[in-house]
């Protein structure tokens, strides 16, 4: 069984020996700091935790932790994480990655992960760009963003991940900023402790391909309203906010999805039962 025990571990105990190869100044350094701080507060030992990712700069994160990790295929962090959690419910499972990984190629998995509501925490480091592949626009890039790879901007309306997560059934939705690691750590901890599928969108600037986003520190602000348990209200708020409100936006009470059998011991017949009319 998973238990939270008092344990004198510190953030450092959750970092690996590997030094990140992110560009100096990348927001993802602070996200790593916040995640390791939060993990220390859970009291769960590194070997009781698994961090799962897809592909991208942000998706390198599992390698920089001392936990079990899986650096998977592009866009596939969520099915891997959900499968792992269902077969090893004793593990604390975190999926992590970028806006490209999670909302482009992984977009359909994102919808169904929200819908299934498996008990895991999904941390998206949103830098509004594909950093790893040198600066292509992502689903969250503003339409007018003019760059070498998208001259004049895409002109496309950005995807609204938090509203989509709410509509699809996510049980906890929060937004944070990498430059505020203490609050980010607190939100990650809350997300981990909340049962079901928790999404934390962390605004995490890519200083190399969107250097103008270094000024996000000046734009973020705590949400002026308290968190709500009313999904429709949360969605309305997020739809009309400026994208820089931080804090917990929604905390739901859907029971997490757990299959009626132990997947680790199940045979094909057990699986088939779920698909019978």
């Amino acid at each position: 069984m998973s238990t939270e025990t008092a344990c004198p571990l510190t953030a450092r105990d959750y970092k690996s020996e590997l030094k990140p190869v992110w560009c100096p100044g990348c927001g993802d350094f602070s996200v790593l700091m916040a995640i390791t701080k939060a993990l220390a507060e859970t009291g769960r030992r590194p070997e009781e935790i698994a961090v799962i990712s897809g592909i991208g700069c942000s998706s390198r994160l599992p390698a920089y932790t001392n936990c079990y990790g899986f650096h998977g295929v592009h866009g596939r962090a969520l099915p891997l994480a959900a499968g792992l959690k269902l077969s090893r419910p004793d593990l604390l499972v975190i999926a992590a990655g970028g806006d490209g990984d999670g909302y482009s190629i992984g977009g359909n998995h994102f919808l169904h992960a929200c819908r299934r509501n498996v008990d895991l925490t999904y941390i998206v480091m949103d830098n509004q760009v594909y950093g790893m592949t040198k600066g292509q626009p992502s689903p969250t890039t503003p339409p007018e963003w003019d760059s070498a790879l998208a001259p004049g901007g895409t002109g496309l309306r950005p995807f609204h991940p938090l509203v989509i997560a709410l509509a699809a059934g996510a049980n906890f939705v929060a937004r944070s900023f990498s430059g505020d690691p203490a609050n980010t750590a607190q939100l990650v901890l809350e997300a981990i402790r909340h049962p079901g599928f928790s999404l934390i969108e962390i605004l995490s600037p890519c200083v190399t391909f969107r250097p103008e986003d270094r000024n996000w520190a000046k734009r973020v602000h705590p949400a002026a309203v308290d968190e709500t348990q009313d999904r429709a209200r949360a969605a309305r708020r997020v739809l009309t906010d400026d994208g820089f409100n931080t804090g917990i936006l929604f905390r739901g009470d859907r029971p997490p999805y757990q299959p009626p059998y132990n997947p680790a011991e199940a045979g094909p017949v057990d699986f088939e039962v779920e698909f019978r009319p």
């Binding site: 602070s30 505020d180 203490a182 391909f209 520190a217």
Partner: protein, 167 residues
């Protein structure tokens, strides 16, 4: 500002030095990773100095008395004032710019204690905040003197002849 007693102030003072030391270590690692070892070495040296300040506070006041739970720290800023924000880093960071960032961090620490001394609800807290402010003012002068010994950075230090996007 909600620090109203000496114990909380001491915990903040210790955390400020400790976090500055850890941040310099982190920034040094970032610089070594991109082969900017000159600035890596500089940040390593600054990390050692800040770690000494933290150790001194532990020695004087007992480490066990210096810890608060994370949510009890009140900085009036997103991070502890003496930590250089990670977003200020650049792979081509030159020496003078790096020391200018260090100076700004010392100024933020000084302003933190000055404001605390001004707002202190009792004499004991005011005196201790003023003492820490005086220490930080000394650090500001040391870094200013250090800066004076450095040559100016080249003007367009952040310009890369082989930039990440070269279309």
């Amino acid at each position: 500002m909600t620090i109203t007693d000496v114990a909380t102030l001491l915990a903040h003072a210790h955390a400020m030095e400790q976090e500055a030391a850890e941040r310099y270590e982190e920034l040094a690692a970032q610089m070594y990773a991109v082969n900017n070892s000159k600035i890596g070495d500089l940040f390593t040296k600054l990390a050692e100095i800040e770690a000494k300040h933290a150790a001194q506070l532990s020695l004087e006041h007992g480490a066990a008395n210096l810890a608060l739970t994370a949510s009890d720290y009140k900085w009036n800023s997103l991070e502890s004032p003496e930590a250089i924000p990670i977003g200020e880093m650049h792979y081509l960071l030159p020496e003078r710019r790096a020391m200018t960032l260090a100076l700004a961090a010392e100024h933020r620490a000084l302003a933190f204690y000055e404001r605390l001394a001004d707002d202190a609800p009792n004499e004991k807290l005011r005196a201790m905040a003023a003492e820490f402010a005086a220490d930080e003012a000394t650090h500001v002068r040391i870094v200013q003197a250090w800066l004076l010994r450095l040559e100016a950075d080249v003007e367009n230090w952040h310009e890369d002849m082989d930039p990440p996007v070269s279309l």
